[in-house]
Amino acid sequence: MKRLVPLTIAIVAGFTLIIAYFFPIAQQWSDNVQEWFKILAVGAMVLGGGNLIKLHLKKVSAKRKGWGYSMVTIVCFFGVLIVGFLKVGTPPNTNYPDYVWSGYYLQEGSGVWWIYLHMIVPLTSMMFAMLAFYVATAAFRAFRAKNIEATLLLVTAGIVLLGRTYAGVWLFDAWLPESMLWLRFDNLTEWIMNAPNTAGNRAIMIGIALGTVATSLRILLGVDRSYLGQD
């Protein structure tokens, strides 16, 4: 029972959506279902956020290594929740001044805005920017001409790296005759992006599409039911 009902739900829902796609009268259905999903995803945050806090509380109460940092997480989490839910520092919407709650929570000067700009932005965007170092270490270590494949990888990467900046033009402009201009790295880069890169990506995309079809079918035919848990 515990597996049969959800399996039936999955199969019926999946096939219904496939069929609905071909009938104009039912074209709203998938939109409805997707809207449910996004509402459910918010509801599920209670599960996720609750779990996050539970784990950190456990760590704090057991005074396990690094419990102080867990404290920071808990305080930050609840701090943002309170500021956000109460719309601290958010003035009303100028079109509806008599509605205290009508303001936009991210408006400049509001509490959430402050947290967003001064905590979330620097932390997440610096984390992202760390990639500048990681691409360098990855290139340094992995791009070695060990075999044909690796050589192709590094040569293409090298050409594109230079071709994407003025260096690709500057290196060749002085001595390359007019008829050989296509050899300039910026032109070569454009060609690589348009020809082999387009083709490689096209093949990968077609493969992924077919893989998606087969994976979906394995679920819809009930062949793959690993997501269902035990009886």
């Binding site: 496939i18 796609y21 071909f22 009938f23 104009p24 009268i25 074209q27 709203q28 997707q34 999903f37 459910l40 995803a41 599920a44 945050m45 209670v46 599960l47 996720g48 956020g49 779990n51 996050l52 784990l55 456990k58 979330i120 932390l123 997440t124 965007s125 984390m127 992202f128 760390m130 990639l131 990681y134 691409v135 270490t137 990855a138 290139a139 270590r141 992995a142 791009f143 990888l153 990968i204 995309m205 077609i206 493969g207 992924i208 077919l210 893989g211 998606t212 079809v213 087969a214 994976t215 979906s216 079918l217 394995r218 035919l221 062949v223 793959d224 690993s226 997501y227 848990g229 035990q230």
Partner: protein
Amino acid sequence: MTSNLGIAVAVSMMCGVSALGQEWCASHSPMPPSNLVATDAPDDDGKAIELSWDVSPSDVFSQKYAGTRAPDPGIDVVNYVILRKVEATSSDEEVSPEQSQWIVVSEPSAGDNKWTDRSAERNWTYSYRIMAADAQGDQSPWAQTAETVVARLQIFNMSRAWLAIFTILFTGFVVYFINRARSGKKIWVRKIAGLKAIDEAVGRATEMGRPVLFVLGIQDISEIQTIAGLTVLSRVARTAAEYGAQIEVPTCRSLVMAAARETVEAAYLAAGAPDAYQPDRIHYLTDEQFAFVAGVTGYMVREEPAACIYMGGFYAESLILAETGNHIGAIQVAGTAMPSQLPFFVASCDYTLIGEEFFAASAYLSDDPLQIGSLKGQDWGKFLSVYLLIIGIFLATVISWGNYDEGFFVNSRDFIKNNLLGVEGFWPAPGDVELGDDS
């Protein structure tokens, strides 16, 4: 999109020079558009009417005046005004006086020559009018549709007819080979190097007494990659349970956490080690991509997992994770159908399942003949795609080589491109005008 966009208007004829121009200059209003045609929108749920018209000669985008006179703000069309009137409703009720008024439904800008009214009601009958307006708000006389039009519901979306056929075909291939496998027929599939590595990685983690890190990507459960990742997780968790290794699954979405717990719990049960299952090791961090990465990399440098397995939909975090994994010396296996991240996994992981291989992995790992059968069906889908591609390219090359404008080759190519692979219905309509040509 109109084909007469971007036509330069040269200075040659000012208002008052041509007879036509003079007449309309005098009345200080633009000339009207013409030929307003309203048709029921095809393949819809009966709530749309398509309108098209010939732009006003005072419209600077009109070909009639292209290059013949300078723009004149006094009479140039700024926009059109479309009005609508209800002629009959779907029921037997009389049309109320309110409904039978002409009301403005749209004001498309100059140069436009078509618009779709999507506020129609199913089975209602309408009439339309259009006029041109200039910058002062002066309006031209109106042009009206010759016939009324009814918004009708189409039962089947014919533009998707071939999509339906392809869906049935691909499904058919997979179902056929699953059935063949069910009847006991052995199906051969080639080996994928990365898959063996997963077992080795879990084994090594067990020997070293360190955990296995499994990341399901950062997409929600509404993405097929996450689901494919879950099926791989199912198998990895089972191996881990059999060996007695610990498996750590941080997730970026709450629903993924819930689904992953079900999956891992079932895997531990199947391996006969339900007591070893620790739900807290499958935990949610945060939905924010880089905050999630910060959490996972922090875990990696502190706990030093011996194996890191990345299966799912990844974005920029792929390289941060994989390079951190490299730094701590873990065996790394990745699988994703995110083409943009494949280069980074290929560069920093020991094994990478590329695109389709990743989807195939869950079937391979299951050791279930039915799932392996589905791989063969997938290959047949690929055969079909390759054949279509080759035939299409052959036809296109012959046409270009022989410089044909019409005939068998052109018709066949257009049929493949527009009907089979496009949205122009099951069969080319007789005397079909080419799409996108409005002039």
